[in-house]
Amino acid sequence: MPLEIVLILFFGMILLGVPISFAMISISGVYFLLGPVPSFVDLLPQKIFEGIDFIVLTAIPFFLLAGELMSRSGMAERLMHFSNLVIGRVRGGFAYVNVLASLLFSGLTGVAVGDIAALGKVEVTAMEKAGYPRPFAAAVTVASSLVGPIIPPSGIIILYCAIMNVSVGAMFLAALIPGVLMAVADMLVIGSQAKRRNFPKSEVKRTLPDFAIGTKDAALALMMPFVLIGGIVGGIMTPTEAAAVSVLYALIVGVFLYRALSLHDVYRIFVSSSFDAARLLFMIGAALTMTWIFALEDFAGKVSVWFAYFEGSPLLLILAINVLFLILGMFMDAALALILFGPIVAPLAYNVGVSPTQLGIMLIVNVTVGLATPPIGNVLFAMCSVVKLRLGDLIRELLPFLAIKFVLLVVIGMFPFLTNAIPSYFGFR
């Protein structure tokens, strides 16, 4: 079965609504049964097993769990209050608060939808009460939630490192500047609209004692990313161990320090997070059967022929890769786009001098923005269902935020030091 048919079948099946994991396993099954060696089909379970049996990947369930424990302990609200104290009193205050809170919260959770679930409703309701139109409030929340998968801890970065064999420590450090720039970009959009649309200021009391209490409340959350990154980069812990330690940390904070979680809550969160992890990791295992076909069919070689046109100009190549992933990200799950097509474009990018960390962050930002682009943006749907909003209204308000993210993508592609500076300072090459 030629590669083109495999790809057409794959996209056809997922568009028809076949669960993505089973679509990939079925295609692989058919591919081998019709191929020259039908007994290769016997290797499917082995490939699925190998796809999951990966130590770095165990960090993903841990981060999902730690993020869920933190958000259910009321950490999200504490961070929002803290952000309000810091930045609330300017024009458009609550919109900035929303962005800052998401940025801080992203140090606890690794998924954008997690941010929407934890903060979405609170943020939008608070902004609406303060006098912002609901679509704008929702757009700010969606745009700012996209920082979640970029700032460590990040499930998708772990995944990328696992499939591309890149150091997790280097990638976590490389993500910092682009992550903060994403938040700054959102703030620029808010700033450009705040005066014209006469957004209100937030009336938060900001005396010294208030500030001290707010900071103390948020401190436990603010510390976690430092413990994590410090532990990994300092060589004290492996990424997996750091992720497990962050679960312990979140448990101690939620159960003993805040006393927000009962043992029953903890049990429920453990079970739900392990199902969430199973959903994602099963897809990763299934994807390995497809990447195996891609390898057999030399998909990477074929793509490099298509991209040969851009060989003379690294910048054009970077743009072309970005456009390709934007399109993939619009139609596919972010993780899946990375697993299937990351290894395909990597050799091309490395050839023109793009470093593995730069490529990684560029692709991750790219597919993350895809989470908020129609037609298939999980974050968009999550938001619309959380606050009862029409998709069209949300998208209209979201456009400037997305536009500036696209600009940022090009900037990340053009200026390697944005992603390479911090890792190389810490000795990663």
């Binding site: 997922i14 568009l15 028809l16 609504g17 076949v18 669960p19 993505i20 994991s21 089973f22 396993i25 079925s26 099954g29 089909v41 016997d42 290797l43 499917l44 379970p45 082995q46 699925i48 097993f49 999951i52 049996d53 990966f54 130590i55 990947l57 165990t58 369930p61 841990f62 769990l65 679930a117 812990m237 997996t240 161990e241 992720a243 497990a244 330690v245 679960v247 312990l248 429920r268 969160i269 453990f270 079970v271 739900s272 997070s273 392990s274 199902f275 969430d276 992890a277 199973a278 959903r279 994602l280 990791l281 099963f282 897809m283 295992g285 799950d333 037609p375 298939i376 749907f381 269902s385």
Partner: protein, 182 residues
């Protein structure tokens, strides 16, 4: 039958909890023992990985019963209810069949590993690898129950009652308005 489904899902949920707890405990103790006693046994990483494989495969089975695997709903939402129902069952048939293939080949694979020992923990490699066919068998069986239920409904007979997903977990990947009627 309905009781059996509830018992299986309940048992798997407890197992998922224990596996996750075990993984967290083992990885944390590894950090402690390494620094306090300069002791980092080689089986820890292995056991954590294998626990995760079991967690993923058992979880995938229960998620199949609730049809909560990652899926694109954009086009299926636009179909008429009748066509959607037919399509849904065609997809279930595909899922059940490919899972049966994975189960069959998976058992062969797992039993071929009986004499191979994992390097660190020295357990037979059948123990971790058999998670794949067991998960796939459950996926296949659960999906057949769903097809059977739709057949029963079409014949105006009482379907097997499938327990509520919220009984076992919070959060779902399904969009709110396409909640399947299982």
């Amino acid at each position: 039958m309905s009781k059996a489904l509830t018992t299986i899902c309940g048992t798997i949920s407890v197992l998922m909890f224990l596996l996750m707890l075990g993984m967290v405990a083992v990885m944390n103790s590894l950090v402690v023992t390494r620094y306090l006693f300069s002791f980092s046994p080689s089986w820890t990483e292995e056991i954590t990985r294998y626990a995760m494989v079991w967690m993923v495969m058992l979880g995938a089975a229960v998620l199949a019963l609730f049809e909560d695997h990652i899926t694109l709903y954009i086009f299926s939402e636009k179909l008429s209810p009748r066509v959607r129902k037919i399509m849904q069952n065609a997809i279930r048939l595909l899922v059940a069949s490919i899972s049966a293939v994975v189960a069959w080949t998976g058992f062969k694979f797992a039993f071929s590993m009986t004499n191979i020992l994992a390097p660190g923990s020295q357990i037979s490699m059948t123990a971790p690898t058999i998670a794949v066919p067991i998960g796939a068998t459950l996926v296949s069986l659960f999906t057949i129950v769903l097809i059977w239920n739709d057949l029963r409904r079409a014949l105006r007979a009482a379907p097997v009652e499938v327990p509520e997903q919220t009984r076992f977990m919070d959060g779902s990947f399904k969009p709110v308005d396409t909640e399947s009627d299982t």
